[in-house]
Amino acid sequence: MRVLVVRHISLWWSFFTNTLTRDMEFKANFIGSLIVDAVYYGAHYFFFNIIFSYVDTLGIFTSADVRIFLVITFIADTVYMMFFSGNLFNLNKLIVSGDLDFALIKPVNGQFIVSFRYVKSYAIVSLTILGLLLSSLISQNPHDISILNLILFFFSFILGQTIWYSLDFMIGCLTFWFKNFTVGGWLGHELFKFAERPDSIYTGILRKSLFSILPMALISSVPARLLIYGPGWNFLYWQIFVSVIFLLLTRIVWKAGIKKYESASS
């Protein structure tokens, strides 16, 4: 097991160095992607500035808390972009064109290679800036944010990423059944919009759904809660449970999909 983990980490490192070299050759792309990120962050920040010119709180989230929540959402988006988006976005194309064959014949887990082959290295710059911004906001926040909060936040954040990956991966795998599901990326993006608002605004059935079948509230809201308000064990246990279930579901969907796969032009 340990050998397997080390092997996959070293393989991912090779993918990373390979894509980093490639990205460095297209510097305009690199800079352009940073600009897109800046525009995305700026537009959202501007939107919430308008919102907070009308109210002081959104549920338990104050204006200062929402700023932290927003930066966590941006970090979640950037981390996701870095590790997964470049891979899962192409899943449809791989399946339709039959290029998935090249991933399947390699002596490594097929799901691993289609999920991690490309790394968007420009995200490191965005992550550094967002990390500094988050540290600054944490130091200014009136709540007492302890080391335990930070540890729980990191753990919860990784679980959130696992959930988002699983959901997006399963959406991508729908191509096995629909033959050509080009709108998978768009659908994933539309679902993520629910994660871009603090969970405190959702009530009733929608809130329950966003914590269970479409667990978008677990991506950035729960990590933000754990960071700002401290240990919320119920949230954390639930997040662990949901991420394990969703990760298992990806395995089931992937294996079922592979059985349906008919190679080139399937």
């Binding site: 537009a43 501007f46 939107f47 109210v55 002081d56 959104l58 709108v183 539309e190 919009k193 929608l206």
Partner: protein
Amino acid sequence: MRVAFSKYFMVMRMTWIQALEYKANTIVGIFAVISGVLIEYILWDRIYETRGVEIINGFSLNQLIVYIFFGIMVGQLKSSWVTSFEMIECIRSGGLNKYLIRPVSFFSYHFSLFIGYNSLFYFSYFAMIILFQLIFPGWAFQTPIQAVAFIIFLSMAVYLSYSIYFLMICCAFWFGEVRTLILAFNLSNRIFTGSIIPLEFFQESILNIIFLTPLPYLVNIPVNIALGNISSLEWPQLFINGLIWVVVMTFLGQILYKIGIRKYEGFGG
């Protein structure tokens, strides 16, 4: 003129038939509108409730949600990033050659493709608007003339938006990779054209800057006409202003294209 029209109409028709094969696009498009409205409704419901007011900036909660419903649809209809990416790829990879040696205009051909690709959205969103009118009569299109004006301003918004995209696409002659420019424009567009929040909610200083650009003509003005927020007396002036933007953007696009084509080397970039 007639020949040119029928030529591009055929392109549009072909793309339309092609688009019919991808019905999932429509389903996801409708989901995008419904989920977008739902999220904004929940957010603004909380804001109205917290403030304990019925009107903010001249909008009641219901009016605001209707605005967002129309805003998301209009925002979607004028968005042409798929066509734009194809056009950029043509310039980068030398695919533009085929337009240079044939009697077709690069601008008009892709405009027909853009309308063709979006045709399914036109039908599905039109059906949604009809349904909306039946369920909530009087919330929008209080008079039939508003519907006519909305269609005119919507058509102008679609063309103006495409012309702005075309300006950015032409930058590919110099910089090669300008897809990020399109993406950045798309992302900022949702907020600064008034797609998910009326421009009336912005600060005066920001609003003054936005009204110096063509952005309000893309979403805010067509939607406000549909909802009856703009008096019919103001329509002619707005139409003339919009038309000026259309002419300016088309002219700039053609100039940029003509200069750019001299730089174009006709091989992969």
